[in-house]
């Protein structure tokens, strides 16, 4: 199984029946297609839709109906439309149960960097800074190491932050971490991954949960 598939299959388990959820642009958007039928969630799109449906057929395509990634979508039964200020009232006001976002770096203090790389063209943070401050639970999904093999799970983020101490759960291709007050905690190993492997590839300091879940 590819690392990305492992990350997504673990991430989809964070969605519980009845939740209102915001899935970030890119890899998190793919989770929408993996939600089990018995889990009924309302997906929020920060441009003004709660209740994202499937991608449209050719006949259903409507330029007035897109998601935050600017893709054409549909609205499911029970959906609602609203303006951008209200959309972020939902987010900032703590009415969204869960946000799943991509990451470039996560620190042991739960800091997240995911919006810019100095020296490269700045594209903008979009709604990420609002989401990390406002959603009730923040799950970050990313590869454990970068293409040079360096850990993306850091003592301190080197990239500009999206939010400070905002991450509740980090899911990588190797492991799952939680961020309680007491410090970063390894709670789960992905299938076939050893504790030694995680220790070697993680720059951050973490404790191993007494109830560490090992997936074989």
């Amino acid at each position: 199984m590819s690392g990305r598939k492992r990350i997504l299959e673990r991430a989809v388990k964070e969605l519980q029946d009845g939740m209102c959820v915001n899935l970030g642009i890119g890899m998190p958007t793919l989770i929408a297609n993996m939600i089990p039928e018995d889990v009924d969630v309302m997906l929020q799109s920060e441009n003004g839709l709660l209740g994202i449906g499937a991608y449209p057929t050719d006949l259903e395509v409507d330029p007035d109906l897109i998601n935050a990634g600017k893709e054409t979508v549909t609205a499911k039964a029970g959906a609602s439309y609203f303006d951008s200020a209200e959309s972020f009232s939902m987010i900032r006001g703590g009415h969204i149960d869960l946000a799943i976002l991509g990451g470039m770096e996560v620190s042991e203090k739960g800091d997240l960097a995911n919006w810019m790389i100095p020296g490269k063209m700045v594209k903008g943070m979009g709604g990420a800074m609002d989401l990390v401050q406002g959603a009730k639970r923040i799950v970050v999904i990313m590869d454990h190491v970068n293409k040079h093999g360096e850990s993306k799970v850091k003592k301190t983020c080197t990239l500009p932050l999206t939010g400070q101490g905002v991450v509740h759960c980090l899911i990588t291709d190797l492991a799952v971490f939680h961020f309680p007050e007491s410090g970063m905690e390894l709670v789960e190993l992905q299938k076939g991954v050893t504790l030694e492997e995680v220790k070697e590839t993680t720059e951050a300091e973490f404790v191993v949960s007494e109830t560490l879940k090992v997936n074989n």
């Binding site: 600017k70 439309y81 951008s84 800091d111 063209m121 406002g134």
Partner: protein, 231 residues
């Protein structure tokens, strides 16, 4: 005095070099395409544009970039636009990146007569630099200021002659807050109905915010990322 315009030229000539214009839309969805092209044709320069995005290279606000009319852009995400990158890197274009929710609230506040507000968004990041920090109930917030533009460009679906507006689906996005945040708000719409034909319960933007209304024809409504189920 009628708010209904027979041509956009009647208002576009009032826009001078150096004006600040707040513009509705998200990506290319719900953008005031007729107002943007008219402004491009008018050619005024040194504009400050406040809008979530800056169009693409050959459409939307990208047309004003192409024509070098924008001095400063205030936006949350500008990654769809190569011209933007070129003008930013060459120093021709000034950019203020604002988190999307903060941008929406700054426009809402501006339109609602609230000069500033506190938000947790951006605390501990570059966005917070130089801004007042204040603690409420043990949590830190930063102060952000309201925005009011000299002009507001709005795209709606339907209007009546008083300027009451109804939007369609996610083409609503920033348009309702933008409508409140202009000293002079100009709305362009696809359809004009008679006074009394819109159900008052269904009106999204009250005509009190709208100074001028224009009915556009043949909307292009370009799609940025066509995604279908049959792919």
């Amino acid at each position: 005095m009628s708010k209904v315009l027979s041509s956009l030229d009647e208002v576009i000539h009032q826009i001078k070099d150096g004006s600040t214009i707040v513009v509705g839309g998200f990506g290319l969805c719900g953008i005031p395409e007729k107002l943007i092209t008219s402004l491009r044709d008018k050619g005024v320069k040194d504009l400050t544009i406040v809008s979530n995005n800056c169009g693409v290279d050959d459409w939307g606000l990208g047309l004003l970039l192409e024509n070098k009319q924008i001095k400063k852009m205030v936006a949350s995400y500008v990654g769809e636009n190569k011209l933007f990158e070129q003008q930013f890197l060459s120093g021709e274009l000034e950019v203020e990146l604002v988190p999307q929710g903060t941008l929406a609230e700054r426009l809402r506040a501006g339109g609602a007569g609230i000069p500033a507000f506190y938000t947790a968004t951006g605390v501990g990041t570059e966005v917070a630099k130089g801004k007042e920090h204040k603690e409420f109930d043990g949590k830190t917030y930063i102060m952000e200021k309201g925005i009011v533009g000299d002009f507001a460009f709005v795209k709606a679906w339907k209007a009546d002659p008083f300027g009451n507006l109804v939007y369609r689906k996610t083409a609503r996005n920033f348009n309702p807050v933008v409508a409140t945040a202009g000293k002079m708000t100009i709305a362009e719409v696809e359809e004009m109905v008679g006074i009394g034909e819109l159900n008052p319960d269904d009106i999204h933007t009250s005509g009190v915010y709208v100074q001028k209304v224009f009915v556009g024809e043949k909307y292009e409504k370009r799609i940025e990322r066509l995604t279908t189920a049959n792919a």
